[in-house]
Amino acid sequence: IAQEGSVVIYTAHKSSIVDTLLPIFEQETGLKAEVVKLGSGDIAKRVQAEAGAPAADVIWSISGSQLTELKDLLEPYTPPEFDKIDPQFIKDPSWTPYTAVVYVLAVNTDLQPLDTAPKTWAELADPKWSGQIASARADGSGSAMQQLQTVLTVFGDEGWDKYAEIAKNFVFTDSSGAVPRFVADGETSMGLTLEDNALEYVQGGAPISIVHLTDGTAATPDGVALVKGGPNPEGGKAFIDWAMSKSTQEKLAMDIGRRSVRVDVEGPAGTPNLADLTLVNVKPLSDFGGAEEVLAKWRTAIGE
């Protein structure tokens, strides 16, 4: 329940990020932040359940595609520095791109020396990696779905066959966040995950190296959005403005390891420039027959 001068924020950001950034927000704007931290799927569900009497003002950092699905419940808003955003990330007027998420392969170098590790999707299909590749489930995790879409985009007509070959090597984890932990613990020798997740483990000293697959790497945005009918819309706007500001975005890149969507902010230290990667423009689900059909085919591909 929002009080005067407080903003209710639903976020999928890690607690560590929330704890770093929000004090700055409160200090800079003088507003009080009331945070509900959940998984991104839970946030979507919760906003839907509360549609009758929304409790949230802002959704902060859930994937763009999820925000697009929620667009009926969102209030379009354009922050002042909108023109500084890389246009490749702008997908829908109901939400604002916030950071760019890059999909990578994390390799446990204790178990799998980097020089013989696979570098492409095609190499991942080699049966010798059977049981070696950790991945989240596409029917549960948005990032796993992005990876599926990437394969389908990269390999065109042969996409499903190629994916099925790769999937034969998969070990499924319960969430995408668990993939780098699996790899770091040696449960598998490598895993498909998000760049910033993997980066944390690298920084934490785990024997992990990051491989950007050379036959196609995806980079997709997550976003911030204003909830339609929220209790404190002005506060919500103030939050979005702050989140998109250059200083906040720089902090994200420098201290937290996220890639900014702003063209005027550098990537995190130790990561290649986006420009040096083989970025593919991942086709939307609708191009493959819609979510239902893709999931059905995915199940066949993984042999369920």
Binding site: K14, E34, K45, D174, S175, R181, A184, G204, E304
Partner: protein, 549 residues
């Protein structure tokens, strides 16, 4: 009692109980479940059910559910009864400590439990590594076998708690009579003792079965493609893309129906087996000697320690040095430092919510338990059945139902502490109702009748005679409620707001972030609090603690 329609205490209780059930359960949950009859765009349809019936993956999941359900049940029954029998009948050194372990095994925060098993027995697990160094190769814990092992160890405390209480109340003469007739102690146990505690055994088994059927964390983490209905429902519900709420609800409904079948089955089975003891001729614990003594101790400690393994691992890991999400060699208090800054709030929330809920539960649950066990008529039988509903209702369904029901309309509760307390209350109430009812069934009603003949109203007689006699049962139930309430996650995850965050929610979110060290630290604190509560409960029971331990 008499068949006269009188407007007495129990009639009032009966009416209030029904009102409670309707407001907090049937109306909210009913409206959610009805959504399984609508498709994504809101048209009335049976499509979801047809789909369930036609798709092989659901069939497979259904079969798998039964496999892990019954496998887990068998394991829990085995471990729970062995432990209950040893602890209640033999002199076990440190028996109280072992019981404490069993209860604490229930305090294993979501995901961290299964993760602990991976740490120990996964592909890169500590134990496997150790054995590999010794030249012994052991398969990793993944797959259906692993799920069953974990379920057995995870759910045996339900059986243990229920059965140990009942075992110490069996009329001693019955067992002696059997032995006098030439049955070995072993045969006697099976032919007399277990039939006597059958209601408690099945009640504990039912809890284990229902939890095994509803658990999705363990199969998801350890199953490696072994899908059960709970994981299917969870996937459909929580998918970030292509989530299908009405199909998820459909599977939940199937799950609920399956559980309900077992509930009814249990009630049918224990229907005839109502044995009253006189509470005077209680069994005494035997001092074993030689190899039997060693065996009993080994069994009890083995089960206790294995069951508490996740808890032990999380305590150890909470003290490990970390760098970001990565554990380093050596120990440090880093993880604790990181949770310190808002620890107070979540601890206070958890404590107040669960204490408030448990106080409500114990008061209401005891009275309703008596109503159900003693004033048997059609109405109370119906009530007893109705109380099975929260038993089998997944927490998430109740959470969603509460949001939908109390977000708008006459009562607005969203965002308050009350909504969380009420959700815990309604979910855990059946525990106390059940434990109360089952301990009551062991006490001959003639004692209460004696009190009535001495001039006590039925309510006073209940308070003065029955309550003291079932205090161990009530405390066991209350403790179970407390321990599960303070660990309650699934419904509060849906209901919490920033100011009402609880420890399990925070642990869950930390795990979601991959921050295991911090999660382990918070779990350890949760464990400490639960441990204190259990300890206080033991103290409080005074000379009656025998009955529980």
């Amino acid at each position: 009692m008499t068949a006269m329609p009188r407007f007495n205490f129990w009639t009032v209780v009966m009416i209030l109980t029904w009102v409670l059930l309707f407001v907090l359960l049937f109306i909210p949950v009913g409206s959610v479940l009805v959504s399984s009859f609508y498709d994504q765009s809101g048209n009335l349809t049976f499509g979801n059910y047809l789909k369930f019936l036609s798709e092989p993956r659901f069939h497979q999941a259904f079969v798998n559910t039964l496999v892990v359900g019954f496998g887990g049940l068998a394991g829990a029954l085995l471990l729970g009864s062995i432990m209950a029998f040893c602890v209640s009948r033999f002199v076990i050194r440190g028996g109280k400590f072992v019981s404490l372990l069993a209860i604490l095994a229930l305090v294993s925060p979501p995901f961290i439990g299964a993760y602990s098993w991976i740490v120990l027995f996964g592909a890169g697990g500590v134990v496997r590594g150790f054995l590999r160094d010794l030249g012994i190769s052991m398969p990793p814990i993944y797959g259906v076998g692993g799920i069953l092992i974990v379920f057995s160890l995870k759910f045996y405390p339900y059986v243990y708690l229920m059965v140990s209480g009942a075992l110490s109340n069996v009329n001693r003469s019955l067992e002696e009579a059997a032995e006098g007739l030439g049955l070995t102690p072993w045969q006697r146990t099976f032919k007399i003792s277990f039939p006597m505690v059958f209601p408690a055994l099945t009640a504990g088994g039912l809890l284990a079965l229902i939890h095994a059927i509803a658990d999705f964390g363990t199969p998801r983490l350890l199953g490696r493609g072994y899908n059960v209905l709970a994981t299917e429902a969870f996937t459909l519900y929580s998918a970030e893309i292509g989530s299908n709420l009405s199909m998820a609800t459909t599977i939940s409904v199937v799950l609920i129906l399956v559980s309900m079948v077992f509930v009814l089955l249990q009630r049918y089975m224990s229907r005839r087996n109502v044995y009253h003891g006189n509470m005077i001729n209680k069994p005494v614990r035997m001092q074993l000697s030689g190899w039997r003594n060693v065996l009993a101790h080994v069994a009890v400690y083995f089960i206790g320690l294995c069951g508490a393994m996740p808890v032990i691992i999380s305590v150890i890991y909470s003290f490990r040095k970390t760098s970001g999400p990565v554990f380093q060699d050596g120990f440090a208090l880093q993880s604790y430092e990181r949770i310190l800054f808002n620890l107070g709030d979540v601890v206070r929330n958890s404590l107040t919510f669960s204490v408030a809920a448990v106080v409500l539960i114990v008061m209401v649950g005891t009275v309703v338990g008596v109503l159900v066990a003693r004033r048997t008529n059609f109405n109370t039988a119906l009530l007893d059945g109705a109380f099975m509903v929260p038993y089998v209702m997944p927490g998430i369904v109740i959470g969603i139902a509460f949001i939908a029901a109390f977000n708008t309309g006459p009562i607005v509760l969203t965002g308050t502490a009350l909504i969380i307390i009420l959700s815990i209350f309604i979910r855990r109430l059946p525990y106390t109702v059940r434990t109360t009812a089952s301990s009551l069934r062991q006490i001959s009603p003639s004692m209460e009748e004696a009190a009535v003949s001495l001039g006590y109203s039925p309510f006073q007689a209940f308070l003065r005679i029955t309550v003291p006699l079932i205090v161990p049962g009530i405390i066991a139930g209350g403790m179970l409620s407390f321990v599960t309430a303070i660990n309650e996650l699934s419904s509060s995850l849906v209901l919490y707001v920033g100011s009402t965050m609880t420890m399990p929610v925070r642990i869950y979110l930390l795990i979601l972030d991959g921050d295991f060290g911090t999660a382990a630290a918070l779990s350890t604190i949760l464990l400490l609090i639960s441990g204190c509560a259990v300890y206080i409960a033991f103290r409080f029971m005074g000379r009656n603690e025998q009955a529980l331990l």
